[in-house]
């Protein structure tokens, strides 16, 4: 994945086990003006293997942004978040928690674990697509992400 050119391809890792939400997120990002590549894994163990480029993920890029569901099989999103943010080589990657939960406890816990932001998934499909587009627009056109190639 060569990102050195003028056109930066945004690599996004979606950690999500719900196929409907995956499909909607893909659609939302496909309509984007921004060049992006969406990678998806459906559980917490795979998410960590992807981020650490282990096993079948040895050739994947380090993502620029992680969209993380909290309710995941095998290893839940809180553990994934805690591991990312405790790992010296991964902690800089912005993690957007994107989950159905609206519970204050989940929100607070996520920020305390240094989630970069917490977003409740809207139930409405159109709203969900809008939120994914907002995330992409904010993180890739407004924010300055950690520069690549720093490892």
């Amino acid at each position: 994945m060569i990102n050195e050119g003028k056109i930066k391809l945004a690599d996004i890792l979606l950690v999500e086990d719900n196929p409907g939400d995956v499909r909607l997120a893909k659609e939302a990002l496909k309509e984007s003006k921004l060049l992006n590549k969406l990678y998806q894994v459906e559980d917490g163990i795979k998410a960590m293997a992807f981020l650490r480029q282990e096993g079948e993920y040895s050739d994947v890029p380090r993502p620029d942004l992680v969209l993380l569901d909290l309710n995941l099989p095998r290893k839940n999103g809180r553990e994934v978040l805690a591991e990312i943010k405790a790992d010296e080589t991964l902690k800089r990657i912005p993690v957007v928690v994107l989950t159905v939960s609206r519970a204050e406890e989940d929100v607070l816990k996520s920020y305390n674990l240094h989630a970069n932001c917490y977003i409740s998934k809207p139930f409405d499909m159109e709203q969900f697509v809008k939120v994914v587009k907002s995330i992409e627009n904010f993180w890739f056109s407004i924010v300055k992400l950690p520069p690549p190639g720093d490892k």
Binding site: P94, E104, Y111, H114, I119, F138, K144, P146, P147
Partner: protein, 147 residues
């Protein structure tokens, strides 16, 4: 601070020593649709006092979000960020670093210190307005903030 969904205004803490930039940011927020109360402090020491409700800030509200310049007198923005993110009571408050520097080193440092995001302050006024509005839209309408 668990009433924001019922229409309580958001409290924004702007840590900015340049009066021109502070004024512009406040104007940009004012034209927004959201109800908010902005509090401005102009150095790092004041920022920490405000957050810890010390001295003249005994009655200060807990901000919902912090916009933090990195170049500050008395205590610089990196130090302020580090203190916020190491403080069990404060670390959940989102900190948007909003500063002039585009240097990779500063950006990395900010994320290492657990800034929630890093945004470069544009020199152009129209751009600045646009960026402040984007911050407001994203953080106050899309994101769920800690109560």
């Amino acid at each position: 601070m668990n009433t924001e969904d019922k229409g309580e205004p958001f409290d924004i803490l702007l840590v900015e020593d340049n009066p021109g930039d502070a004024k512009l940011a406040l104007e940009a927020l004012k034209v927004g649709r959201l109800r908010y109360e902005a509090h401005v402090v102009e150095d790092g020491k004041q920022a920490i006092s405000f957050l810890r409700r010390e001295g003249e800030y005994a009655d200060a509200p807990r901000p919902d979000i912090i916009l933090l310049d990195f170049n500050l007198p008395k205590k610089d923005g990196q130090q302020v960020l580090a203190e916020i993110k190491e403080d069990e009571n404060l670390k959940c408050i989102p900190v948007v670093v909003f500063t002039v520097s585009k240097a990779d080193e500063e950006i990395l440092r900010a994320y290492d210190l657990r800034a929630n995001c890093y945004i470069t302050k544009p020199a152009d006024i129209e751009q600045l307005f646009k960026i402040v509005r984007s911050i407001e839209d994203f953080w106050l309408t899309i994101v769920k903030l800690p109560a």
